[in-house]
Amino acid sequence: MHELSIVVNILDVVEENAARHNATVVHEIEMEVGELSGVEFDALSFAMEHAPKSEMLKDVTFTIRRIQPVARCNECDHPFATNEYSTACPHCGSFKTEIIRGNELRIKSFNMD
């Protein structure tokens, strides 16, 4: 359960950047989160709702774009969608695959005044 501290960190980063842009209020934070990023989505949503927030961020909403992982097979170069690290290539059956997308845990943008 490291999601709460991850959210606290997100709020920290956004507040720091919002202050640099002379914001008085941040309305929305847009995130990109890969399904293999190591966070639990339900725990993340819970943490987003309950994390302590400063005045500037007190009404902030989160928009999370989930990123479906994609792996590529080292044997046949076939890219394929997956939900886990240990998936055989649907094309040739090899487990020699690399995750090329789906590890993201990124603050994409925020909306402020």
Partner: protein, 272 residues
Amino acid sequence: MCNTCGCDQPDNKTKYTIPGHDHEHGQGEGQARDPQQAGGRAHAHTHHHEQDHSHSKVVQLEQDVLAKNNLKAERNRGYFDAKNILAINMVSSPGSGKTTLLEKIITDLKPEMSFFVIEGDQQSLNDARRIDATGTPVLQINTGSGCHLDAEMVDKAVKQLRVADGAVLVIENVGNLVCPAMFDLGEACRIVIISVTEGEDKPLKYPGMFHSSDVCVINKTDLLPHVDFDVEKAREYAMQVNHHLRFFEVSAKTGEGMDAFYIWLKGLVKSR
């Protein structure tokens, strides 16, 4: 980055202790920073904003949430490179025999290489005392409620420990197969340890850790006659998660299989 789990209490801060200097490192030195307390208002956000801020400004940030830790980890890596220090991050679930394995490695290779050790546990100096007994410089990080070490903690620990140029720095992470996977410490090599008293499907259940590791040590092989652990299956599962893994099957207790591990470790030290 944090004391993960978000339950970092004022009396539950990260502590850094060198055995025998138990009273000297309190406030100020190597304290993890406070979690964000500003405002302190938990706000359950249920209402929707209509288009009431259409005039507001969108700032494109494109920043990795772990960027701070990753940056610190790269700084650690640069420091280790410059000082010719080989940093190894040992990760596993609690009870896989990390400390026993480390004691064995240090005792056997001490004449040939200089070791420094950072121990990570939520509480107690037990592991640091065991390493201290081998005559190796060691520092214990107690993370309090935290479930992993991060790059910032390692940076502080390395400075307090005064790791010598050319040394092998072994960082024994908090026993946890989940959270430490996400936190780069700046190590050159990550070793995941699994013992034969665990299930052979651990790599499938906790793939993040096996995916992020370079080496997998299967420990306690002396117990194989007494347990149902299938070594081949464990290797197969781990390879499904990460086909780059290098395996060693050892018993830190009897020394069985340690020679192959030592040849590899010496090669790694040499190749720096």
